[in-house]
């Protein structure tokens, strides 16, 4: 399995992985297999959704975030904080205190990511009005990558407007330069609740280069801040706080928070399985008359983000509560309009083929036919004991020369009964898939 530029967000730690196959079962693109007792990612198929990270009971999947220490390479260190971060804390933790701690941990400035939402929503409304329906929101990076890989015919439905994070970052960069600041002094760091956003910043789609310097893992940072809070660390530095945000901005990353502001018939759908179901229908041209689709890979959208520590419903509740105490506009809206001029348009998003069998159609057809025949041999219970997520996936792997029929525990038992396979051989096959150490326990 070769590595490509597509995947930059997730890595399996071989020493930690126990090959329990939980990740393999939840991957929406069937990009994981277990061999020799370790999970392996097929990087071309990975969409950085982070479902594997979420389910891993052993913390064997690492997020490829940036080293926190790198922030000190910059004189002006801005942390772009999403509204979901403050919702990680319960009401007893004062926001002022969180700002102070962020400053003490090394940032010179704190800023609200969704500051640009008010400007963006205006552009989104115009965009939807002037486009063929339905328009799919470009906000969720896992959804964009899912469409690229599994629904290539729908890529041209994705809105070519940048998400709030990128617009806010643009604003800071331009403002810094306009004020005569040295571009090398500015470090813009994004505190991410989402694994997909890491990949989106590191290798963006749509021919766009992000002004963001680095990405900080929100789960990691939450623990750092909360520990500092609990230990009551003394505050010795000051931090500039630019927390201007409207209620629209606070709610934008929650389910329905984007669709609510778009005119016409809109739908807000969250959760990977729900999104896939709906995209299947869209691909069949089964959906008519919907103007705008807010599709989010995580349940409860970013409140249920992979790197969000708190229960997703409590997080979403905290965001709604904060929004209800916030004005529906803020004083930087006009300035944002000036500095970000219009919303920066992306280029067309390209489809990304999964190359299931082969680029050559004759070879691909041959392999596909073989896979279909093999699939009929297997029991169809998708037990995963072969190290592949389903009987169909095993059949495909074998057709591609990446698997063995005897990996199937059902057929293997049959071969043993017929005397075609010795017990020792059968055990060896099991060890090859699940690792030797598993069988040394008893």
């Amino acid at each position: 399995m070769s590595s490509t530029t597509y995947n930059r967000a997730l890595e399996i730690l071989n020493d930690v992985c126990i090959g329990c196959s939980h990740c393999m079962k939840v991957c929406p693109t069937e990009a994981l297999r277990v061999t020799a007792g370790k999970a392996k990612i097929h990087v071309d198929w990975c969409i950085d959704c982070g479902e594997c990270y979420r389910i891993c009971p052993n913390r064997a999947i690492r997020v490829m975030d940036d080293d926190f220490k790198q922030i000190f390479k910059y004189k002006r260190r801005v942390l772009l904080v999403p509204s979901v971060f403050y919702a990680q804390f319960d009401d007893s933790v004062p926001r002022e205190r969180i700002y102070e701690i962020i400053g003490e941990l090394g940032f010179t400035e704190v800023c609200a990511v969704e500051q640009s939402v008010d400007t963006l929503l205006k552009e989104e409304r115009e965009y939807v009005k002037n486009s063929d329906e339905p328009v799919i929101s470009s906000f969720c990076p896992a959804v964009i990558r899912l469409i690229q890989v599994r629904f290539p015919s729908l890529v041209d439905k994705i809105m070519t407007l940048l998400p709030p994070l990128e617009i806010t970052a643009q604003y800071y960069k331009r403002k810094h330069e306009q004020e005569g600041g040295n571009p090398d002094d500015l470090g813009l760091f994004y505190l991410t609740p989402c694994i997909g956003k890491i990949a989106a910043v590191k290798s963006p789609v749509g021919g766009y280069n992000s002004p963001i310097t680095g990405v900080i893992n929100m789960d990691y940072f939450f623990n750092k801040v909360f520990l500092a809070y609990k230990q009551r660390i003394p505050i010795t530095t000051s931090v500039k706080v630019n927390s201007e945000i409207s209620s629209k901005g606070v709610l934008y990353p929650t389910t329905g928070g984007e669709a609510a502001h778009i005119e016409g018939r809109t739908l807000a759908i969250d959760g990977m399985a729900n999104v896939i179901d709906f995209l299947e229908m869209m691909e069949n041209e089964d959906i008519e008359g919907v103007d705008f689709l807010e599709l989010r890979a995580c349940d409860e959208s970013c409140a249920g983000g992979i790197l969000s520590h708190r229960n997703r419903f409590l997080t979403a509740e905290a965001m709604r509560k904060f929004a209800s105490q916030t004005s529906d506009t803020h004083k930087l809206v006009d300035e944002y309009k000036r500095f970000t001029s219009a919303v920066i348009h992306m280029e067309q998003i390209e489809p990304r083929s999964m190359v299931k069998y082969d680029w050559n159609i004759e070879i691909a057809l041959e392999k596909m036919e073989k896979a279909r025949e093999l699939k009929d041999l297997f029991p169809g219970i998708d037990c995963g004991a072969c190290g592949a997520p389903s009987c169909e996936a095993l059949a495909e792997d074998i057709a591609k020369g990446q698997g063995e029929i005897s990996s199937c525990i059902f057929l293997r038992t049959l071969y043993e009964k017929r005397g075609e396979l010795g017990v020792d051989e059968a055990v060896k096959i099991m060890e090859k898939i699940w690792g030797d150490s598993r069988f040394n326990k008893v």
Binding site: R150, P152, S153, L365
Partner: protein
């Protein structure tokens, strides 16, 4: 590769099974998404036609490196006037079918429009057969 799907009249819940399966395969073969889309539109429409108008039917698909050939053969009332059925907007669907969101015309013009090659044969009291072909 040859595939076969059975379709039952009146079962709208399962309508679309053949088009979903064929869609999945064409995608796995890296067929141009534009062609896949046209195949799915035409096949889905034709599949729902069997469910809505016929008693039962068999869909066969033949995929080779050069294209896909679909044959939809149904046992049903047949079409008395094919020319009329090919007119956009013409419909004989019952109220019940229309309420389910289907039946705004048989969609034969739509099928024909989305096919590279389209042929229809029908015998009243026996059934209808559609041939829908695409070149990759």
């Amino acid at each position: 590769m040859n595939l076969e799907f059975k379709v039952e009249g009146g079962d709208f819940t399962l309508a679309g099974n053949a088009s979903s399966q064929i869609k999945k395969m064409l995608k796995q073969l890296n067929i141009d998404p534009k062609i896949v889309k046209r195949v799915v539109i035409a096949l889905y429409e034709a599949e729902v036609n069997i469910v809505a108008h016929a008693y039962r039917g068999i869909i066969t698909a033949e995929i080779d490196p050069h294209g896909v050939r679909l044959k939809l053969e149904d046992e049903g009332p047949g079409i008395p006037d094919i020319e009329k059925a090919m007119t956009p907007g013409f419909s004989t669907a019952s109220e019940q079918v229309r309420e389910m969101g289907f039946g705004a015309g048989m969609g034969l013009p739509n099928i024909s429009e989305n096919a590279d090659d389209f042929r229809i044969e029908s015998e009243v009291g026996k059934g209808t057969t559609l041939y829908i072909n695409y070149n990759f």
